[in-house]
């Protein structure tokens, strides 16, 4: 629906930008393992051509059986890396547990379940030694585990020579033991199936459980984790225990499968596992990585070593190749983690070309309805220096004035001459557009937060802060980024603009400079309490006003300098059309006028240079990159202008403050009982001018919910 609406806009078709795609891809966490994933697939395809019968399910299954034990060891390495440490003793623990399992089966002749338990316990104890040294004594993981690697390896070699004969003579005829070695539930080798289950559990543990988060937190910043009250030492201890248990699981399956132990079992596995997990995208710096990344890396390393061996390539070449892989992976890891943010920042802003319609003349004393005058120059000032940037103003039935200010407040002025100032409510965020609903609750669009309501008693409550996600967008756009203005239809639905999904309140200038349809029109239905995006991809939608007849919504597009009408009732329901094509400035809020027409504020006045820059995206890109923000080209902001236009979109008259002294950057105006109240994004007051020849009993509230409604007549 959004796209068809958009075709209706004619010129404004969203252009594809490779740069934009790249910057959005780089922001994605899942993008990092994509490259190793394709390397893995590529390797598989490469070996399929080089080796006969490689691409067969029998080969795949037998390779899975060979792989699973290495998978366990790589997983153990991944866990220790994620905590910011390292466990180099994984290969030695694996070999030790392989020996232990054989010992328990062949010499101690324990029943199989006990063998499993005893082997895993052995792994836990060995890991516990590392954990004690690293977690409790705070020794350095790399050297500590390097030394435990040497000690364990020497111990295994000693034990091997001592028990070699015993192992050769004894044998077991336990079916359960054979099943561990060669069983295949559902055709999948048992060890691979177990690995898969462990991976799932490990994934849930790491990404969904409290302790998994603690592990990641310690890896990301040990100091911060300690300050947050995480028991760093205990967690580290148990990480190495976990690492030991995982290696033990690998050793157990290896023992059952091979039923032999020698001095080469697991030699160099720590190095391969390290290469694997770093290659998969588990960061050496800690705090980043998933079990799946570790497995992708492990599969790459395994496929490579296994394939090279089968192609008859000598072991030292493989060794050198893996060394180079590790060097490359470490280099890329370091550089990428350091520069990722910078790379995203450099590619984030992607200006597009926008050819604006010719700007109408605003020359003073001309016949044009836009002709400059000084009707706002002497506006009364309400709350001078008592409000900071009232983006929107509104009046209630008791004639009190409300302004939404920069500091997250709704300020209310009341009493005779509106001298009494009070903070009606503090919402936070940046409150922008406001409207009263039927029950006199003040509904406010809050940039950075969503849509909030305030009861007449001044109590605020959340209405909505998210909408449906666009399924084909890389950016998760479900959160409301910058709710800007809102209006309420006769049926109570709240229509509001979310002017950008790529920027924030503080950076929304960039969205205008980018000139892409990043905004949207969203509707909240109080009957079902659901929020849905009505128009996706809209060029900076700003002011929203439900038409007098309640059948359409008027939308001001700040970056396109146009006003659109979107039908919500009647035969054209769902269609969007241009209402005002040519405006002399960037439109902001739209509000109803007493005579059935509309008021429109212009926040900036177009200049030929700015219009030219809109046709030159390269110029704007260079400007954003090379020039400090306060030197950027902008529309003329030193004017205040309010327009009046009728239902057909024809401009009728304009009110100007050509000096910008009282009211520059006007963003809002409300008519109330013969006066026009003015609010501006950068103003230090709320303005008021007397209107001539208007209905002096007309109020906004009555026009929506009371006697002045026009939609029933």
């Amino acid at each position: 629906m959004s796209l068809t609406t958009f075709d209706g806009f004619g010129a404004s078709v969203r252009r594809f930008s490779p740069r934009l795609l790249l910057s959005e891809l780089m922001m994605k966490q899942w993008f990092e393992p994509v490259i190793p994933f394709f390397v893995m697939i590529g390797l598989w395809i490469g070996f399929s051509f080089a080796i006969n019968d490689y691409a067969s399910s029998i080969n795949a299954l037998s390779m899975l059986r060979l792989f699973a034990e290495f998978g366990f060891v790589a997983l153990a390495m991944a866990f220790s890396l994620i905590t910011g440490g390292i466990d180099l003793s994984v290969g030695a623990i694996f070999a030790f547990c392989n020996f232990a399992a054989l010992y328990f089966v062949l010499v101690a002749e324990l029943p199989v379940p006990l063998v499993i338990l005893a082997t895993l316990a052995t792994g836990a104890v060995l890991g516990g030694i590392n954990g004690f040294l690293i977690g409790v004594l705070k020794a350095r993981p790399f050297l500590t585990t390097l030394v435990t690697l040497i000690i364990l390896r020497a111990t295994v070699n000693l034990l091997n020579t001592y028990y070699a004969q015993t192992f050769a003579i004894n044998s077991t005829d336990s079916d359960a033991w054979d099943y561990i070695g060669s069983g295949a539930p559902l055709g999948i080798p048992l060890n691979a199936a177990t690995l898969l289950v462990v991976l799932f559990v490990g994934h849930i543990f790491l990404s969904r459980s409290r302790y998994g988060w603690h592990l990641t937190a310690i890896g990301a910043s040990r100091k911060a984790a300690r300050h947050a009250g995480i028991r760093v030492r205990t967690m580290l201890f148990f990480t190495y225990v976990l690492s030991g248990v995982l290696c033990a699981a690998g050793g157990l399956f290896y023992a059952a499968r091979q039923a032999s132990t020698d001095s080469t079992t697991g030699v160099g596995w720590e190095f391969q596992a390290l290469t694997a997990v770093v290659l998969g995208g588990v960061s050496l710096a800690g705090g980043k990585g998933t079990v799946w990344r570790a497995m992708i890396g492990a599969l790459i390393v395994f496929t490579l070593t296994n394939g090279l061996v089968r192609m008859g390539i000598p072991g030292y070449v493989t060794s050198a190749l893996i060394g180079m892989l590790l060097l490359a992976a470490v280099g890329i890891d370091v550089k990428w983690s350091k520069n990722r943010g910078k790379a995203i920042q450099k590619t984030y802003v992607n200006p597009a070309r926008v050819a604006l319609a010719a700007a109408p003349s605003v020359a003073a004393k001309s016949a044009s309805p836009f002709a400059q005058n000084d009707r706002l120059l002497h506006a009364d000032a309400i709350g001078l220096d008592q409000v900071e940037g009232p983006e929107d103003v509104i009046l209630d039935r008791q004639d009190r004035v409300y302004g939404s200010t920069r500091d997250g407040n709704i300020i209310r002025f009341s009493g005779p001459d509106l001298k009494t100032r009070e903070v009606f409510a503090h919402i936070g965020g940046r409150p922008l557009g406001m409207q009263f609903d039927r029950d006199e609750n003040l509904i406010v669009a809050v940039a950075g937060m969503g849509v909030y309501g305030i009861t007449p008693a001044g109590k605020s409550y959340k209405i909505t802060d998210e909408t449906n996600r666009t399924w084909y967008k890389l950016n998760d756009d479900s959160r409301l980024r910058m709710a800007d203005d809102l209006d309420i239809a006769p049926d109570g639905k709240i229509y509001f603009s979310d002017c950008t999904t790529r920027y924030e309140m503080t950076t929304n200038t960039l969205d205008i400079l980018e000139a892409r349809p990043n905004g949207r029109l969203v509707c909240y239905d109080p009957a079902t309490k659901t929020t849905r995006t009505v128009i996706n991809h809209f060029y900076f939608p700003n002011g929203i006003c439900v038409s007098h007849d309640g059948r359409s919504v008027l939308i001001a597009s700040t970056s396109l300098c146009k006003v659109f009408r979107h039908w919500i009732e009647g035969p054209n329901k769902g269609r969007t059309e241009v209402l005002i094509d040519k405006l002399p400035g960037n439109p902001d809020n739209i509000n109803r006028a007493s005579d059935g027409t509309y008021w429109l504020a212009l926040v900036g006045i177009r200049t030929p240079t700015f219009d030219l820059s809109m046709r030159n995206p390269g110029f704007r890109l260079r400007m954003v990159k090379q020039v400090p923000a306060d030197e950027w080209l902008a529309p003329g902001l030193n004017h205040g202008c309010v327009l009046k236009f009728n239902e057909a979109g024809e401009p009728l008259e304009s009110f100007w403050d050509p000096t910008g002294i009282s009211h520059s950057t006007l963003t809002s105006m409300r008519e109330h009982k013969g006066y026009l109240y003015l609010g501006g994004l950068e103003n230090n007051r709320i303005g008021r001018v007397r209107l001539d020849g208007v209905d002096e009993t007309w109020t906004g509230f009555d026009a929506y919910w009371g006697s002045k409604r026009r939609d029933r007549s």
């Binding site: 910011g84 040294l133 004594l137 705070k138 020794a139 350095r140 790399f142 050297l143 500590t144 390097l146 030394v147 435990t148 040497i150 000690i151 390896r153 020497a154 111990t155 070699n157 000693l158 890896g219 910043s221 040990r222 100091k223 300690r226 190095f271 390290l274 290469t275 770093v278 050496l284 710096a285 800690g286 000598p314 030292y316 070449v317 493989t318 060794s319 050198a320 190749l321 893996i322 060394g323 180079m324 590790l326 060097l327 470490v330 280099g331 890891d333 370091v334 550089k335 350091k338």
Partner: protein, 338 residues
Amino acid sequence: MTIDAARGGASGALRRRGRALLASQEQIVLAITLSLIVIFSFALSGFATIDNFLNLLRSISILGILGLGLGMIVISRGIDLSEVAIMAGSWSIALIEMQNGMSVPLAIGVALLVALLIGCFNGFMVAFVEAPPLFVTLASAFVIYGAAFWFAPAWVVYAPKDSSVLTFLGAGRLFGVPMPILVFLFCALAMHLFMSQTSIGRFIYAQGDNPEAARLTGVALRPLMVLEYSIVALLAWVAGWVWVGTTGSMQMAIAQGTMIFDVILVVVLGGISLVGGRGSVFSVVVGCMLIGILLNAFTIMDVNSEVQNIVKGVVLLAAIVLDNFLHPRDEETARQGD
């Protein structure tokens, strides 16, 4: 706030007192070494002879030369796990070239060139790519092993028998003292002067103490790091020369073995802390003495090499834990990943 400061001050004073009580690690090691000499002299027959002492010193001189390089890099807060691989790789390539007819001096130059190239590469990876030195040198050790095997596909490459230039450093004697000892002493003296008398040597200490502060003071850290890793490679080359002279061959297997841990053991044991900036050439010398005596005693007692590994491992572990205890890492400033 004040309470914390007071507590910090108190514990700092305690630590200073502790350090004063414990003397320095070098002195402890020296004392242990001397007492071991006394014990072994009585316990082991054939230990306390001039021949055995010269033999002992000769056997540790290669370890000592390697230890000087590693000690310097550890003082600079780095580490080089590829030192033994550099030694083995560069010299096995040189020896195979000699077998293929290259003149001996030229081949020795080739070995030097290969070693320095690897050292520069390690330095580049650490200084400019900013990859952790542990991983860089671990990986490059494997690459060197594989690449050297590619050029010289043999576990043992033999040196030509008739070259006195090649074997003098390893097998020769000067005034009755085996040359390896003299080479070690010369290297130790040179390294001592370099580390204590030259500004570059002081910069290395400054870098090890606090790299960021050294950088802000104006020390060109990156070129300095490349230089450090090149010096390690240079010493590996010297050690290789002695090795070739002593054994008449070069064994590739040592690149994959546990020899590098002996070197680390020598360095850490002598009191060169892994936190960097602490220790001196003297630390390497006393560390070397202790390990030499242990190894010599093991040999005399005919201890299984696996048991030797276990004992050395446990001693190294103890040294690391002791180092950690003497130079505790500050949880607030400790960096990730070392």
